[in-house]
């Protein structure tokens, strides 16, 4: 049976998590609420619950990652799942095995979930299209396209700090062009309905299509930060840049780097976020990153609960008669 939305099963429940785009507000809220209930697990003396006992989760990381890989692994382990990590650089793909052949082999080993990080946009979708019906795929970042669990943990952190989304002005600052995080955040924030969503970047680091996403574009940092409640800084993705997009890191910091001085125009209770890893002195000063308004480390902690929520929701769908998955 062909389904309209690859992410959802016939009952409209989350079967894979590939992108925020297309998720309804209530679905996002359900994930955040579920994550809320997992927060306490980290405080228990035994940081483990038996929810996914007997399930096997495979982390397929074709691209470097520390935070995302580690928190996915921790999340799966706290749910009592067994976790495999496949380091692609040393695996058979370098021996010429195709991706789909490798997936068939992993399926034959009775795995239940693939967590996929890949440098190409659409990689997780491709895998989701080809996996056996009992397997769920979670996108842990694909090219410039999407990083849904990062956006969800950011939404969780904003809700935790600010309560409601409706009154908020949110500014996303920096390298929007290369950022899958920004794309997922924009979809999440517009779906949850913030008062104003701004993107702040030099013209060379903005994709052409950004205007169509319902955001206000600023090319001046101070104008973009004025009265903001939430400031999300993005990492300058030097490894994805070819040619002269920027004059120099130093000059970038002078014009778009977040300092106590530039942050002064935001609201007094504004919070500062960053998906990591941070380039100190490039997009953010150490003073701000380590300062009282920074919630960067809370984001990391919240990432575990949010990933537990996503994993338990996609694997914890009650079977329905007549449905194979």
């Amino acid at each position: 049976m062909r389904r309209r939305d690859l992410q959802l099963d016939a009952q409209g429940r989350l079967r894979h998590l590939l992108t925020i785009e297309g998720l309804k507000r209530q679905q996002i809220v359900d994930i955040l609420d579920t994550a809320e209930s997992f927060i306490g697990v980290g405080d228990q003396p035994v940081r483990k619950i038996p929810l996914l006992r007997g399930k096997t989760v495979v982390n397929l990381f074709f691209e470097a990652s520390t935070r995302t890989l580690t928190t996915f692994e921790l999340a799966a382990k706290r749910l009592s799942a067994d976790v495999l990590k496949i380091n692609i650089n040393t695996s058979a793909t370098v021996k010429g095995e195709s991706l789909l052949d490798m997936l068939r082999n992993l399926e034959a080993m009775h795995c239940d979930m693939f967590v996929v990080r890949h440098g190409d946009s659409g990689a997780a979708h491709l895998i989701a299209q080809h996996v056996a019906p009992h397997i769920s795929v979670v996108n842990a970042g694909d090219g410039r396209h999407a990083h849904p669990t990062q956006a969800l943990l950011d939404m969780f952190t904003i809700r935790q700090q600010k309560g409601e989304f409706a009154p908020l002005t949110v500014a996303i600052v920096g390298d929007i062009l290369h950022s899958r995080v920004a794309r997922s955040q924009i979809h999440a924030l517009t779906t949850l309905g913030v008062s104003e969503l701004r993107v702040v970047a030099p013209k060379t680091l903005l994709p052409d299509a950004v205007q169509g996403l319902g955001v206000h574009v600023f090319h001046d940092l101070r104008e973009g930060l004025r009265d903001a409640d939430v400031v999300i800084m993005l990492r300058l993705q030097k490894e994805r840049m070819q040619g002269a997009m920027l004059p120099s890191e130093h000059e970038y910091f002078q014009t778009f780097g977040l300092t106590e001085d530039s942050l002064a125009v935001a609201r007094d209770d504004a919070i500062v976020m960053h998906p990591g890893p941070i380039n100190r002195g490039v997009e953010i000063s150490s003073e701000v990153a380590d300062g009282p308004r920074s919630v960067i480390l809370q984001q990391v902690s919240n990432g575990i609960a949010v990933r537990m929520a996503v994993m338990s929701m996609v694997l914890g769908r009650a079977p329905v008669d007549g449905e194979a998955g």
Partner: protein, 155 residues
């Protein structure tokens, strides 16, 4: 039930217990008992959804309330309160969860109502009401104010 608990632990002993209600009905019953006995130690709450043995059949419930235990479970004398003791599976899950928090000195099980249909070797120490029901009949507690027990026919 309050009298039975008082007799069991003694007037001083009951103050030393940690009373824990199982979501949702058990919490209501525990709140009432907690008030009647004047226990100073705050009431604990357990949501056993993450410990159920039928997760793969019933799926994820997004409305799970975080469990709250006000003090350490280690060496505590725990009074575990549920509304209806039926198959025993809820109590099994609650015990597993409690032991993930520590090693209690003892656990005493209190049920507002006990009915037939046990599937596990679990019995309550203190019971308010004993019911013998057919499999298709169910006991339902509504509350929290007023607390009412109803017997309903399963469809």
């Amino acid at each position: 039930m309050a009298d039975q608990l008082r007799a069991r632990f003694g007037e001083g002993g009951i103050q030393q217990t940690l009373m824990v209600g199982i979501h949702t009905g058990g919490v209501w019953v525990a709140q009432r008992l907690h008030r009647m006995l004047g226990i100073e130690q705050p009431l604990g709450q357990l949501d056993i959804s993450f410990y159920r043995d039928d997760f793969s059949r019933i799926g994820m419930n997004p409305q799970v309330k975080p469990s709250q235990l006000p003090t350490s479970v280690d060496d505590a004398r725990i009074v575990l309160v549920d509304d209806v003791l039926h198959t025993g599976r809820t109590v099994r899950a609650a015990l597993n969860e409690l032991f993930d928090y520590g090693r209690p000195a003892s656990v005493t099980l209190v049920a507002l109502a006990e009915r037939s249909g046990r599937e596990l070797p679990i019995q309550a120490d203190v019971v308010g009401l004993n019911l013998s029901l057919d499999a298709h009949e169910h006991v339902k507690l509504t509350g929290p104010d007023p607390l009412r027990l109803e017997i309903v026919e399963a469809p």
